[in-house]
Every structure is written in C-alpha cells, then in structure tokens.
C-alpha cells in the first residue's frame, strides 16, 4: 500500500512570527521544524504501512531551509520524501499549494493520502479538501480515529455535537486531528538513517503546475491594543485577588 503523508516545515511557533517588508509573506528562517500536528499523520501513516506491507512517502511544499523538519519526519520512519520548492511558489495560496501537492502525489502513486487538519503557520484549513477534489477521491476529514479495512477506510469525524462514523473506499484522503494516535519519538538509529533517505526535490515547473494567485494582501495595519491591567507576584495569596476580580465581574 502506498501511503502519502503531507507534512509542512514551519517557523517554530514558540518564536514570534514576522512578515517580510513589501510582500507581507511570513519570514521563514533557515531552521524550521516539523509542524507538531503533522507527527500524528506521520505516525498513523507508519502504522498503516506496517500493517499493510506499504511504504510511507512524505510530500511537502515550502522553502526547504536546512530540511530539518523533513528529517524529523523521516527519522520517525517514513521511507522517502518529495520536497517542492520554487521561488514562483512563494506566496502561494491554498489552491496552488493543493495543485502542487496533488501533482507530486500523482507522480508517486497513492492508495491513501494523510494530512493534518490545518497548518500552524498558514491555517487556511482547506488544503486537504482541495487535494481530495483534485485527486477525485473522498476526503474523510477531522479524524479522531482511523481504521483501514479491506480496500476501505473508516474514521470518526469530529462534529460540533460529537463524532460521525464515516466510511469510503480507497483510494481516499484522511485529515487527522492531533491526538488520533501516540506519535513515536525518533530513535538514534532512525535519526542516523534519516540522513541517508532519499529526498526528491521538485519545483512548480517540474510538476507542471501553473502558478496564478489572485488573492493579495493589500494592506496591514496595527490592531487596537488591549490595555494590560494589574500584574501581581504570587506569594501565597494571589488566588484571593482572582476571587475578588471574579466577584467584581459578578460571575460568582
């Protein structure tokens, strides 16, 4: 079984994000990390591939930097990676991203495509659905549980009220929520092996993807600032200040 997992390298969310002058694109440092939420997709891909004599191919788009984020996912056990990078893809919107990923996924061949629900840095939240539409496969989204059957897939899909059980035949796409499985930590051997695993570099040109982005950021302005209030050090009695404020706000 060919399992493809979409992953993304992002600037560390613990550091403040900044925008480039002029373009308003996110500044992407040389050193990026694997989006934490993508570890779940990689883990579930590995489990499914192991149970079905399959392989796991990572597909990623964005500035490669030093490739550290991709190596993290390879170190978990993925077999190989396709990394799509191209200056013309800078500032790509969700649809362009989905087109590029879909082209690479078609080249690799697939039975199951796995993605997160949204990236931490871009969070348009629609790339998996677009991918499924382009590949003409079902999109089983917001999965909190995933089971592979004989040529089929069943998931628990998060809903406002709880969850739905959703089924479809393969090939299919599933977008997974964090917590769907327990992601493994890379072993020392995994980290060493990852350095030798193939990373195939592709571009918009090599994939035959035409880049035409209509939407543009036209201006950026400062938002109204919220004034900070009182700051107190806890010396054992700070909880009383909280109680007093809750009383003042008449919520207790």
């Amino acid at each position: 079984m060919n399992v493809v997992v979409c992953v993304k390298q992002i600037p560390d969310p613990a550091t403040p994000y900044t925008l480039e002058d002029g373009t308003n694109w996110l500044v992407r440092p040389e050193e990026q990390i694997l989006d934490d939420g993508d570890r779940y997709g990689v883990e579930i891909g590995l489990q499914i591939a192991q149970a079905n004599e399959g392989t796991v191919t990572l597909v990623s788009m964005g500035p490669a930097g030093n490739g550290q984020g991709i190596r993290q996912a390879l170190a978990m056990g993925a077999d190989k990676a396709v990394l799509i990078e191209d200056d013309t893809l800078r500032g790509a919107d969700a649809l362009t991203t989905a087109r590029a990923l879909a082209a690479a996924i078609k080249n690799e061949g697939f039975d199951l495509v796995i993605a997160g629900t949204e990236s931490t840095d871009g969070y348009s939240g629609v790339v998996p659905q677009m991918l499924a539409q382009i590949l003409d496969i079902p999109a089983l989204t917001y999965a909190t549980k995933v089971e592979i059957g004989n040529g089929s897939l069943s998931i628990h899909r998060q809903t406002q009220a709880g969850y739905d059980t959703v089924e479809a035949s393969l090939p299919a796409l599933v977008s997974v929520t964090a917590g769907v499985v327990e992601p493994r930590y890379p072993t020392f051997k995994g980290i060493m092996d990852a350095k030798k695993k193939p990373v195939d570099e592709q571009s918009a040109g090599s994939l035959g993807v035409e880049v035409a982005v209509d939407q543009k950021v036209t201006s950026i302005a400062d938002a109204a600032e919220r004034a900070a209030g009182q700051k107190i050090e806890d010396e054992g009695e700070a909880h009383l200040a909280i109680v007093a404020l809750l009383e003042d706000r008449k919520v207790i």
Binding site: D36, Q129, A132, D136
Partner: protein
C-alpha cells in the same frame, strides 16, 4: 451577481454560525442560503427571519455532503457571486472542494468582508491579532470563510423564503458515507457560549495536570479549553482547542492557566471581556493583555483558588 450563505443544520435548525453570517450577508444584498440538513418549515422560517430571501436545500441523508454539494454548487454559482462560509468543519469541506472544482481561491479566517468594484475585500487578524491584514480578490466566484463570532446573529422579522429542493448529484469516486452519528455527553456549558472559560497550556507541565483546569472549570460552571500546543502534544482532544486554528471564544471571563500567550492562541480569546492569566514567566506575552496577571506556579495558585471558590 448573487450572495450565498452556507448554513449547516445543527440540532434540527440553522447553526448559530450560519445565522451570524446571514446578519452580515443581508447587508450586501438579497441572500440565498445554501442549507445542508434535513430541513423543516421552522428551520426555513428562521432563515427568513434572519434575512434569507431564498433557500436552496440539500438533504444529504447518510452521504458526507461536501463532495456532492460542491458538485451541485459548481454548476450553479456565477463568476461574480459571493459565498460566505463559516470557519467550521463542514463549511471548510464544502468550500475547499468547491474552490478546487471552480479553480478559484478561498479567503480564509476573515472577520469581515466587503464588496468592491472588482471583487471582494476581506479583513483578517494576523500575528496573534496584533495586526489587521486586508486581502483582496478579483476573480470570482468569491469564497470567503468567516470566523465564528465575527457578527451577531439577530432576527429582522423577514418573511418565509422560497425553498428550492436540490437533488444531490453523484460524487463518483469522491463519495463517502456517514454510517453513524454519536453525540458526546458533555457536562456544563460549551466553549462557544460559556460565560466563563478556563484554559490550560504547556505551563501545566503534564497531561495529568489538566485535571486542575477541569476542576476549576467545574467549580465555576465554566467551559474548558486548551492551547494548540497541548492539543498537538496529545494532552487533550482537538475539540478543546482555542485559537487561530480552533475555536474563537468571547466569554465574560477567560482564565488562562500556564498559557504563555503564543500568537496562535491569542487570536482565539483576546476579545474576552476580562482576562485572568496565571503563569510563572513574568515576561509571558499573555500578561500584556491580561486584566489580572498572576506571576506564579499554576500548581500552587490553582488548588488554592479551587479551594477558596468551593468554600464560598
């Protein structure tokens, strides 16, 4: 040129999010609601009272609606039309598939939208809500995903809309089936409409320490939330996530426990009326918007706070 609003059925009627979008859309012009659910006279009348003049109704039955609904809409919408969706599960599924089918972009995470001469302009909170970005698109149809609570749902007293029943087309190899629906038992108020929200972050130190958040939440009759960091760490389920990728909350009181205030999180809660933060790090960004910031260890402050509240 037409304005559409996507509304998913929830508990037998239009979702609150859908009605929020209607409050905005009816400012633009006559509104057609794309309604997905079993539908009823009451549900359609409610849409009318919120400003819908017509409804196109899809009863998805046991089919996952996104692929067939996107297929049907793809044949229907014109290049000058505007379609408003909520930043919500099924809305995102339909918008994503429809955009790819039409070959147009999606303007995601907007909190406002205006029509301009040549298209639409949308407003977005970025970088933790410290900046407002304005985006423009000129090639329609214009698909816009609007964050929950951007507008207030309010009935106008409009009449019953015309209802057009649409048969769901075949979705071929994109078909998926819903075989069961499970409502999860939940105690207390829900994140979206709670008066008080208690949330936890990485500063709790461990998944087990989230019990402190649950316990404080229960004591206050509050809903409980979490940062993306601890959701991604597997401590709590995705449904609890508050932030840019997650739920937007605007409660009377928001209590942030062990939350440093990453940009990702702030967008989802910064419009709370009162913000209380407990964090060890005096330089944590959350303190810059807290009405009361307590520099201290959640493991010391929270048990005492719970005890003091319970003793009242």
């Amino acid at each position: 040129m037409a304005t559409y609003v996507f509304v998913e059925e929830e508990n037998g009627g239009p979702s609150t999010l859908g009605l929020e979008l209607l409050a905005k859309a009816r400012e633009l012009e006559e509104v057609t609601v794309i309604y997905v659910g079993s539908g009823s006279d009451d549900a359609f009348a409610e849409l009318g009272s919120h400003g819908a003049t017509s409804v196109i109704h899809f009863d998805a039955g046991d089919r996952l609606p996104a692929a067939p609904v996107a297929e049907a809409l793809g044949d229907r919408v014109g290049s000058e039309d505007v379609i408003l969706f909520g930043q919500a599960y099924t809305d995102r599924d339909v918008a994503g598939r429809l955009a790819a089918r039409l070959g147009v972009g999606v303007l995601s995470n907007a909190f406002d939208v205006q029509q301009t001469g040549g298209g639409v302009e949308t407003s977005h909170e970025i970088l933790g809500g410290t900046q407002i970005a304005t985006a423009a698109a000129t090639q329609g149809p214009f698909l816009v995903l609007i964050r929950p609570k951007s507008f207030a749902a309010e009935p106008l007293g409009g009449g019953t809309p015309t209802v057009d029943e649409i048969a769901m087309p075949a979705a071929g190899s994109s078909e998926a089936t819903v075989t069961a629906s499970q409502a999860e038992e939940r105690e207390g108020p829900q994140l979206g409409d709670a008066k008080i929200v208690v949330s936890g972050g990485r500063g709790l130190g461990s998944a087990e320490a989230y019990d402190l958040v649950e316990s404080l939440g229960k004591t206050l009759g509050a809903a409980t939330g979490a940062t993306r960091a601890i959701v991604d760490s597997g401590w709590v389920p995705y449904a609890k996530q508050v932030g840019q990728t997650g739920k937007t909350v605007k409660p009377d009181v928001y209590i942030a426990c062990g939350i440093s205030g990453a940009m990702q999180h702030l967008v989802g809660m910064k419009d709370s009326k009162t913000i209380i933060a407990i964090n060890k790090d005096p330089d944590a960004p959350i303190f810059s918007l807290a009405d009361l910031g307590v520099i201290g260890d959640v493991h010391n402050v929270m048990p005492k706070l719970i005890e003091a509240l319970q003793a009242r």
